[in-house]
Symmetry: D2
Subunit: 369 residues, 4 copies
């Protein structure tokens, strides 16, 4: 419940967009866990800017350096320190922002909270760049979960709505392995090819219009055992939502049928049980894989609402905190017309931070996982 | 990040539905804060069963006893221990549930997690009854926030959708004081009288049909200062969502325009700034009062999706964990056809737990609140 | 790091000496752990006042009621709530203490910290009575450790110095089972019969003289596996010392040879290894069973310095905070001339809180315990 | 209660002795706090090896790089990330240690705990080198405390016993400013010149004899306000001792008269109050500045027992974990014959981590500091 997250898999992040470096410290990967650092970098590569015309053209290789905790391809059991340099920092454009807050950004509340001492360049500590170390810490958790589960746990995320265009995608029945193999082929990371093209056109139009669009990311985690989560304060939904709302631009999280559940009858909403191959399974998954705050053996399914990027070149009204008068602002620089495709790998990895923590806690409590 | 919640205002809850008592321990109410214990009880009275035909007929007075931390109407600064007795416990009906899990309930995952040792009577520790001590801890936080803010902070919640019927209600412009004064007059706790009657009819139909319906609670907190929340892991949205998902039956949380934001353009979604009476304000509130994880001075607005109560008398398919075969179940007993009206005071108070914690942390960090 | 302690075995305590009740909430006893509640009460009985002329004559049965988390002699996995009533509360004598702080007590700093709102009756929340719920939480941890270890883990404490009289006792070689069986036979809880009688005489003299004496408790925990503790911040010494200094009147903690180690050469201080019955053992135990913050397989040995009870009837100089002048005070009432014998069961059980937490964390990290 | 420490001033450390780098992340320095980074480096320079013949000849400049959280000489309010490179890493000598544990080191329990995966080179994560980032985090806390207190808070530490030679030093009356100004002039960091020379001779003899000696560091913190600390679990003694026992080689901690208190009568041990210049003060300081777990306005005084360095070139008996037989070992390399002088700045700064945390918490609770 502070700048670090987690009880047993605990992550701290640090850094400012235009400072020396950003980074993370992750604690709680059990000694001996095989760690493929290239696979961590691969997740960062999926997140980094400049991958397509749909995203910002800022040039960052986002190469992560592991300072500790990994030796000969295995976790040593010690904290894993990581840094990622800030390379492409053009701080010239931020002088005005010091007193002219960008609408939709943290500028104004951060100015008040930190009494003018926060680093405003590139958004400072509030920058979306901080999702890079978050993703790295998530990718480590992901590998650990896969190792602990013998390969069973597989997280998957995709853009299922962008700019109002909805994809056809059923998270409960989708062949995740097949879809995952080609999700990065389209710059939108949408699993529905028709919708994907339409989404790309919407983003392109927004870009031309110096505007931005938002969307929804659907995340599915397959292969989780029954019983992860703690009743009440650390329900699996609480922990996952806590992490999702830690990602900038996220404004909504729903599990399973989510808000639609609020319109169903109990007789429709309850997922009934049956035996399948000697195993208890549910016939539907309105609950999204969580009952009473615990995973129930079904796929963990949740949807994350991502608002349109706040930085737009279009002129907007705002205020000048020095002159205490109204003014207008065009946020120049290299910005994302749509951050949803880049949010996909962030969400897919960051969810693993919470799941590894809950897994470790379940193991401590005697659950045989 | 465990059975207790919070960094500075820290709450633990304990108890099982049919055990001796349920309760809470709350720490972090500053010494000298005036506490009106009757006002805490009043919030519990709003939550307790049996208030109308729309809710369960279980008879519980839910009288809270304060064991410590309060003296002569003021907080002593020591932890505040509270207990609430379990009076109306008819445990006779739970024998079958030991091996026949109720669909939509925690029964099955709890059975796996606790290896059969959990108390199944009345849902045990997973019972919605545990929201009583949660509400009490929230009511203490509410009073503390009101004291610290000189009366400025006012939380308000209402049912804005039940069984698919939506209320007209604009959380950004509503006259909260007036609405709050009469919100309990209708058993639905819906602020829109026409929708309220329609909702009541839908609930009544579900009750007759041995079924249940869900809904949406909208919560608005007025009067918060700018700057509550911590970037990333403890964003105000993370903390509030964490608490909301700790409430049984909650399956979705969205802030401001939430999922609808994902369909807007940045130029529409950004709340532009202006000066009003010498104060920076936003012209709209799509962000729901939070930017960069910090409160921004606008009303904090969020919506909570509540699934229909899982306990229904209608026959449902399930499994028998002893015989390892399919079976059917009617959940008899006294159940809520709609828990949304009772969720209203729970949400309205529980959100204060997180806000007081963030307030205290902001104060520790030097924010002049 | 607040009013609750522990990561996985987490304990909160609450209560004030003359309030309604004192109590604790303990979380993290794995579901299914057999719990003998009479054995918990037995440890409280060892701690409670009035056992001999060496201790206070306050009449408290200190009967603990378990409100939750235990069913049919086993932990349910839910938090364990406990309360202990305050029976013998004569608050008449505390009016003057409100403004005349007792030397050696928390009165003065508590008055400043809580700005006069703290409950001063009987020491309020600072009372040694709070060691009763601490001991109960410790006794639960103790049973859990014994269960998890198949009976191997056995904590033992004894008074090894009282009023300057030192007992002969070698914690590394002592036959703990035999000594434990008769340690309560003498009111001093000293394992050396000759020293015990001498100690009793010293205490009796102090009592007659309206004074008090302190002492040292030696605690030994046998049967711990290798590897409990976390490097640096949660070294086994850090965790144990943290808990010991949470016990009122404790002013020093040393492990193994402790302060005497500071006078040895490395060649004397290092405990050399050898194989014994195929097992790595140390030939000596200057380290007290902890190396690099981890248990090393040897007995965990530490000594705890307990200051003489601050409440004495002898006249002492102090100040009057109202008149802002010097004055004198005799602390009347029923006080312990020596709290060391009662500190013995407190220490013996409270240490288990930290050890169970570290055990659970080691298990989460993959240690096969 | 894990690899990070603190509630509001929270510190994580990472790194292994022969890995890429060691470092720390510190959170909770209020935005706008003036930070003199050279003064942080100065404390690291005091700690680093090679300062005299009394310490190891390992060559490490221990230059700390600040990656984030500091801008234009002030804290930005964001987490402060720091790294320190490992320069002089000769890993050739550690092959044998993989299976031949050094007596008195973490080697054996770490091998068991991490199942052979821990980095053994230079002690890995257990290395005393990790006290460098600890000291840096402490130095930041120290500056913050000095800023918050208007210069009142001044921590001071000195070697008061080495190799059995005791210094004359009265922590309650010493002129700390004067002594602090010249404490580094003698390689022992002992405030008593005669004892200092005697100590140096003892260390030199141990070095010649391929042995090592331990000692005691006395730490005094002047200028603390009344009321820092939380009753029971986070007493000021608990927090300080927790941090002290996180420093390798520390085996005992006592406050005020500590173990000697256990031999006094209450009438001697109680520090009586009087008014001095209109302020409540104690006439003595047996309690070491802490009553009821709270600072009482007197100097915070504690003594820390440091065992002799475990690494000695003298031949010692040990075991070979591969052949499962006894063997002998000479720990070659560059080791400290006495680590006490280097422990002085570590202790003096690390104590500030806990005090800043308690200060921040007191401020959150309403204490006017």
């Amino acid at each position: 419940m502070t700048m670090s997250f987690g009880t047993l898999y605990r992550v701290s992040i640090f850094g400012e967009s235009h400072g020396h470096a950003i980074g993370a410290v992750a604690h709680g990967v059990p000694a001996g866990t095989p760690l493929d650092l290239k696979a961590v970098q691969y997740q960062l590569d999926r997140r980094r800017p400049g991958q397509s015309m749909l995203t910002t053209q800022r040039k960052e290789t986002d190469t992560v350096t592991f300072l500790s905790g990994v030796l000969d391809g295995h976790a040593t059991g010690a904290p894993i320190g990581m840094t990622i340099p800030n390379a492409d920092t053009d701080s010239s454009k931020y002088d005005r922002i010091r007193h002219v807050p960008r609408p939709g950004h943290s500028d104004y509340p951060a100015h008040v909270k930190y009494r003018g001492h926060n680093d405003v360049r590139g958004g400072g500590h509030f920058s979306g760049r901080l999702t890079a170390p978050l993703t790295a810490a998530g990718a480590l958790a992901r590998q650990t979960l896969q190792h602990l589960s013998g390969g069973a746990v597989r997280p998957f995320a995709a853009a299922t709505s962008i700019g109002g265009v909805k994809a056809r995608f059923d998270p409960d029945t989708a062949d995740l392995a097949t879809i995952a193999a080609r999700i990065d082929d389209h710059p939108t990371r949408c699993p529905d090819p028709d919708a994907a093209d339409e989404m790309a056109a919407v983003v392109e139009a927004a870009r031309r219009d110096q505007d931005s669009v938002g969307g929804v990311v659907t995340c599915v985690v397959d292969g989780l055992p029954v019983g992860l989560g703690e009743p009440f304060f650390d329900s699996v939904e609480s922990v996952v939502a806590h992490l999702m709302f830690a990602i900038p631009a996220v404004k909504g999280v729903e599990f399973g049928s989510g808000f639609a559940l609020s319109r169903l009858h109990g007789s429709e909403a309850n997922d009934t049980y049956t035996y399948e191959d000697g195993k208890v399974v549910t016939r539907s998954n309105h609950a999204g894989g969580a009952l009473g705050g615990l995973t129930d053996g079904a796929r963990l399914v949740f949807r994350v609402a991502v608002k349109p990027a706040s930085s737009i070149a279009k002129e907007q009204e705002t205020v000048d905190l020095s002159s205490r008068e109204g003014t207008t602002l065009r946020v120049t620089g290299r910005h994302d017309p749509c951050i949803v495709p880049r949010a996909v790998p962030v969400i897919e990895n960051v969810v693993c931070i919470g799941l590894l923590d809950l897994w470790s806690r379940a193991r401590a409590g005697g659950l045989d996982v």
